[in-house]
Amino acid sequence: MINPLNKPVLGTRLMNSVFFPNIKLQVIRNSGKTFENTNKIMFKTDCSVGKTDIKTYMKALYDVNVDKVNTINVQGRIKSKTKGLQKRSKLNSKYKTPDYKKAIITVDPSLRAQLSRGKN
């Protein structure tokens, strides 16, 4: 890539990160807690995403004002494949699932109707 100023190209990087964000938010099940009772939704996202990123992201894409964000870094599990009957082969077949971050957002109670099962 051409770097004419011999500096980090601030315009391109800023344009890509501000105007074209690339954050994945995946709703996961929050066991034992429902949205109707606690006004909280749990997401799964990358570890590099912070609380302010989630707030601005929800405001920009979904027009949802987020009151509070709680984040939890979850380490990936070390798993082992069962390969053969010998003990030595098990030692070489371990792998790790990817790390991720849980994000729990708390929204205004007036948004409860958005996720109700009634008709639109």
Partner: protein, 199 residues
């Protein structure tokens, strides 16, 4: 047949809804009120869940956006399309989490969203390369490096065909406060006009 689908999808895009599908194209046609970048189709948290497929049908999706489809679009249109693709991707990931064994029906929908996002990045990259080449041309012509000037002019001629008449500035009025940090040189577009007059 494909042209009819493309034209109907382009009408849907004017309503700022990117959902390429065959069965329910007519039911999702919406008209946006105004031309601001604020998306009028925001349904809040419901956008993480409900796809609007008919019950009992297989979730079909049309083809992904190609770079040739997007080269004539302005920065505003690419910006809106990117946001719709982000919401679609979040919706698919959430649907994958709900289903049994984390297996989506029609998992090619994720592939199509990813390719459409890559096409947007390709188009933005071409415009960025053109602006950088114009900057280097101005600098090389000052230094008197004739060999590099010739190479850059050939590159600019190739990129100018791809970019076309689209402005190189971002063009988002609501974000004019960021113009100083992402400022585009004022003489770049004048240089394009000079090159066109020379040719």
């Amino acid at each position: 047949m494909n042209n009819m689908i493309r034209s109907s999808i382009s009408n849907i895009i004017k309503g700022a809804t990117y959902t390429q599908r065959f069965a329910s194209t007519s039911t999702t046609t919406q008209v946006a009120s105004g031309s601001t970048i604020i998306n009028n189709n925001k349904r809040g948290l419901k956008d993480f869940f409900e796809h609007t497929y008919p019950i009992g049908t297989y979730p079909l999706a049309g083809r992904s956006w190609a770079a040739s489809d997007l080269r004539g679009k302005s920065f505003n249109d690419l910006h809106e399309l990117w946001f719709e693709l982000l919401k679609e991707r979040n919706k698919l990931l959430t649907e994958k989490e709900i289903t049994k064994n984390n297996q989506l029906q029609n998992p090619q929908r994720v592939t199509k969203v990813r390719k459409s996002m890559a096409a947007i990045k390709v188009v933005l990259g071409e415009r960025d390369q053109l602006s950088k080449s114009l900057y280097l041309l101005a600098k090389a012509s000052q230094d008197g490096n004739h060999k590099k000037v010739k190479e850059l002019k050939e590159n600019i001629k190739r990129l100018n065909k791809l970019v076309g008449a689209v402005s190189l500035k971002p063009g988002l009025k609501e974000l004019e406060s960021l113009q100083d940090t992402i400022k585009v040189d004022e003489t770049l577009e004048k240089n394009i006009d000079l090159l066109l007059k020379q040719n």
